[in-house]
C-alpha cells in the first residue's frame, strides 16, 4: 500500500466549475446584494433633496445632490431653511443624543463585563459552599425573557427616582447578565490548572492571579463579549423608551423614532431621516470594522442572541 501511494499520490478532489456551483454563487451574490442594498439606499437618499426624491423616486443615484439632510440631522440648518427643504424644523440635538448613547453603552459594557468576569471567576475557579446551587440560580435567570422584567424594573427605577436619567437606563444591565457570567465561566474553566498553580507557587494571591493572569488570558472572549454588549446596548430601544422622557437622557435610537414621528406637513423628511439613521449607525459600523476579524471568528463560540 505504502509503495503504491509513493508513486501515485492521492489526488486532491478538485472543485470543477459546474452548473451547481455557478447557481450557488448566484444565490450568494443575491444574498450579498439584499444585505447591502439598504445601506446604499440610506446613503443615496441622505444625499438627495426631498423635492427631487418625490419627482424621481427610482433613480439609483442621489438626485439633486445636497448635504441638506445631514445639516438637518445635525441641527446646523436654520429652521426656515429646514422647512423649505421639507424638514420639520424641529431639529435633532444629535450631539447630545450621541453623547448619551456613548455614556450609557460604555457604562453598561465596562461594568457588566467587569462584574460578570469576577463572578465567572468565582464560579469557575474558587471553592466555596453552595457554589453550584448559586450558579444554577444564575442559569435559571437565562430563561426569564427580558420583557418580563421590564415593567417591574421600570416601577423600581421610578421609585428610586432615576426615571429620565442615564443611570436609570444603564442600571438594570450594569451589574451582570446571566449570559455574560455563563459565557466567561466557560472560558475560565478551560484554562489549564497548571497556569494557576505556577502563579500560586510564585506567591501570587488569588486576587492577583485573577487580575494579572486569568483576565489577560481571557482578552479575546472578553473583547468579543464587550463589543457585542456595546452593540446591543447601543441598539436597545424598548427600555430607554420607557425610562427617558426628555433630551437629557434621550439616546440615539429613541431620538430617531421621535425624529421619524415629527412628520412635517409636506410628508416625511426622508433625506433628513436617512442622514440621521446613517449617523446613528455609523459608530457601530466603525466599531465592527475595527474588530470584525475577531468577532466574526468567535461569534459561534458566544451563542449570544
Amino acid at each position: 500500500m505504502a509503495a503504491v501511494t509513493t508513486t501515485t499520490r492521492v489526488r486532491p478532489i478538485r472543485r470543477r466549475p459546474s452548473l451547481g456551483r455557478a447557481a450557488a454563487w448566484t444565490v450568494m451574490a443575491a444574498i450579498v446584494l439584499i444585505t447591502l442594498l439598504p445601506f446604499y439606499w440610506i446613503l443615496r437618499t441622505a444625499l438627495s433633496s426631498n423635492a427631487a426624491l418625490t419627482a424621481d423616486p427610482g433613480n439609483p443615484l442621489p438626485v439633486d445632490f445636497t448635504g441638506g439632510g445631514f445639516a438637518r440631522a445635525l441641527g446646523v440648518q436654520s429652521t426656515k431653511e429646514a422647512i423649505a427643504q421639507g424638514g420639520s424644523g424641529g431639529g435633532l440635538k444629535f450631539w447630545r443624543y450621541l453623547l448619551n448613547s456613548v455614556i450609557v453603552s460604555t457604562l453598561i459594557t465596562v461594568c457588566q463585563i467587569f462584574f460578570s468576569s469576577m463572578a465567572a471567576y468565582a464560579f469557575a475557579r474558587l471553592r466555596w459552599r453552595g457554589r453550584d446551587k448559586v450558579f444554577g440560580l444564575f442559569l435559571a435567570g437565562l430563561m426569564v425573557p427580558a420583557i418580563f422584567t421590564l415593567l417591574p424594573n421600570f416601577v423600581l427605577i421610578k421609585q428610586l427616582g432615576l426615571v429620565d436619567t442615564l443611570l436609570g437606563i444603564a442600571l438594570p444591565t450594569m451589574f451582570m447578565t446571566p449570559f455574560a457570567v455563563f459565557f466567561l465561566r466557560q472560558f475560565f474553566m478551560n484554562v489549564p490548572r497548571e497556569v494557576e498553580e505556577a502563579a500560586l507557587l510564585d506567591g501570587a494571591g488569588k486576587v492577583r492571579i485573577f487580575f494579572r493572569v486569568l483576565l489577560p488570558m481571557a482578552s479575546t472572549p472578553v473583547l468579543t463579549l464587550a463589543v457585542l454588549t456595546y452593540i446591543t446596548s447601543w441598539n436597545d430601544y424598548f427600555w430607554p423608551l420607557m425610562v427617558s422622557y426628555s433630551d437629557s437622557s434621550r439616546v440615539l435610537t429613541v431620538a430617531l423614532a421621535v425624529f421619524r414621528a415629527q412628520t412635517p406637513q409636506t410628508g416625511t423628511d426622508w433625506s433628513g431621516l436617512m442622514a440621521a439613521t446613517l449617523i446613528a449607525a455609523l459608530p457601530m459600523l466603525v466599531l465592527f470594522g475595527l474588530f470584525a476579524r475577531r468577532i466574526v471568528g468567535s461569534i459561534g463560540f458566544t451563542g449570544i442572541k
Binding site: 471553592r127 466555596w128 449607525a281 461569534i299 459561534g300
Partner: protein, 320 residues
C-alpha cells in the same frame, strides 16, 4: 452540572501578598477550612446584587403586580384574578396573541431556512471571512434603523421596492399600510436584520463537522444535495435546536420594528403582544393588566422552550 472542582488550595500565602490583596481577617478566615468563601463572596457581590435587584426581584414582583390594580401613582391594590379573567375575555388580547404567533411563524420559518442556506453556502462554497463579515452587517443596525430604512424602501408612493415592482409590470403594494401585508413585511424586515447572526451561529456548528466526511462521501459519488441531508443535517441538529429555541424566544418579543413602522396599525393588524402590553402600561396606566399579560407571555415562552427541548433532545447538548 459537572464542575471541575478545584483541588483544596491551602498553599501558604505570603504575608506581603496577603496584605496587598485582601484585608487580613478575611484571608485568615479563608484559610481555616472554608475554601475561598469570603473571597468568592466579594467577587460575586456586584453580580449578585444585580441578579437579586434587577432580575429575581422584578420577576417575583411582576407576578405579584399581575394580581393587582396599579397605576403607578397610588399603591397597588390586590384584586385577585381580575386581570386574568379580563385577559381571557379581552378580544384584543387574543387578537394580539394571534398576530404575534403569525409573526413568529413567518419570521422563524424564513429566517431558519435562509440562515441554514447561507451557513451551508459559506461553508461549502468559500470560507471567506469577508463574506461572513458582510452577512453580519445588518445585525449592527438597531431595529429602529432597520425599521425606518425599510419603511422608506417599501413606501407605497416613493419606495424603491414599489418602483421595481412597477417596472416589472406588477401593481404597487402598500407593504406596511395594508392589513394582510403588514405582519409578513415586519417579519421579513427582522429576518433581514437577524439572519446573518443566526447563519454565523449555524456556520460555527458546521465547522465542527469533520471535512473528511464530505471528502469520503464525494469519493463515493454523493451529490451536494445528498451530503446535505445525510451528513450536514443530522450532525447539525443539536446546534440547530439550540439556535431555534433562542430565535423563537427572541422573536416573540418583537416590539421595536412595530413601534417605528406601523405603531400597531392598520386597525390593530400589527398590534403584537409586546406592543399591547406597552400600550396598556404606558398609554392607559394599567400596570396590573399589563403585568398579567406579561405573565401569559412568560408562560407561553416557557411552554415552547420545554416542548422544543423535548422534541429535539437539545437538553443533551451544551448551550455554549
Amino acid at each position: 452540572m459537572t464542575v471541575a472542582s478545584s483541588p483544596p488550595s491551602r498553599l501558604p500565602l505570603r504575608g506581603a501578598e496577603r496584605a496587598q490583596t485582601e484585608p487580613k481577617s478575611r484571608r485568615a478566615r479563608a484559610r481555616e477550612g472554608q475554601g475561598d468563601g469570603p473571597l468568592a463572596a466579594l467577587f460575586i457581590a456586584p453580580a449578585m446584587l444585580g441578579f437579586l435587584v434587577f432580575l429575581l426581584w422584578p420577576t417575583l414582583r411582576g407576578i405579584y403586580l399581575s394580581f393587582t390594580r396599579f397605576n403607578l401613582l397610588t399603591p397597588a391594590r390586590w384584586v385577585g384574578l381580575d386581570n386574568y379573567t379580563r385577559m381571557v375575555n379581552d378580544p384584543i388580547f387574543w387578537d394580539s396573541l394571534k398576530v404575534t404567533v403569525e409573526y413568529v411563524f413567518i419570521n422563524i420559518g424564513v429566517q431558519t431556512v435562509s440562515a441554514l442556506a447561507i451557513a451551508v453556502l459559506l461553508q461549502r462554497l468559500t470560507q471567506s471571512a469577508v463574506l461572513r463579515g458582510i452577512v453580519l452587517t445588518p445585525y449592527l443596525m438597531s431595529n429602529v434603523v432597520a425599521g425606518i430604512v425599510w419603511l422608506w424602501m417599501l413606501d407605497t408612493q416613493l419606495g424603491i421596492g414599489n418602483e421595481i415592482l412597477q417596472g416589472l409590470g406588477f401593481d404597487r403594494i402598500p407593504f406596511l399600510a395594508d392589513e394582510t401585508w403588514a405582519i409578513p413585511t415586519i417579519a421579513l424586515i427582522n429576518v433581514w436584520r437577524h439572519v446573518g447572526y443566526t447563519a454565523l451561529l449555524l456556520f460555527a456548528g458546521l465547522q465542527a463537522i469533520p471535512n473528511d466526511m464530505y471528502e469520503a462521501a464525494k469519493v463515493d459519488g454523493a451529490s451536494e444535495w445528498r451530503m446535505f441531508w445525510r451528513i450536514t443535517m443530522p450532525l447539525l441538529r443539536p446546534v440547530l435546536a439550540v439556535v431555534l429555541i433562542m430565535t423563537v424566544i427572541g422573536s416573540f418579543q418583537v416590539f421595536d420594528t412595530v413601534a417605528v413602522t406601523t405603531a400597531g396599525g392598520p386597525a390593530n393588524a400589527t398590534n403584537v403582544l409586546q406592543y399591547y402590553i406597552y400600550g396598556s402600561a404606558f398609554g392607559r396606566f394599567q400596570f396590573g393588566y399589563a403585568s398579567a399579560m406579561s405573565v401569559a407571555l412568560l408562560v407561553v415562552l416557557s411552554a415552547i422552550t420545554f416542548v422544543q427541548y423535548r422534541l429535539t433532545q437539545a437538553g443533551h447538548t451544551d448551550l455554549g
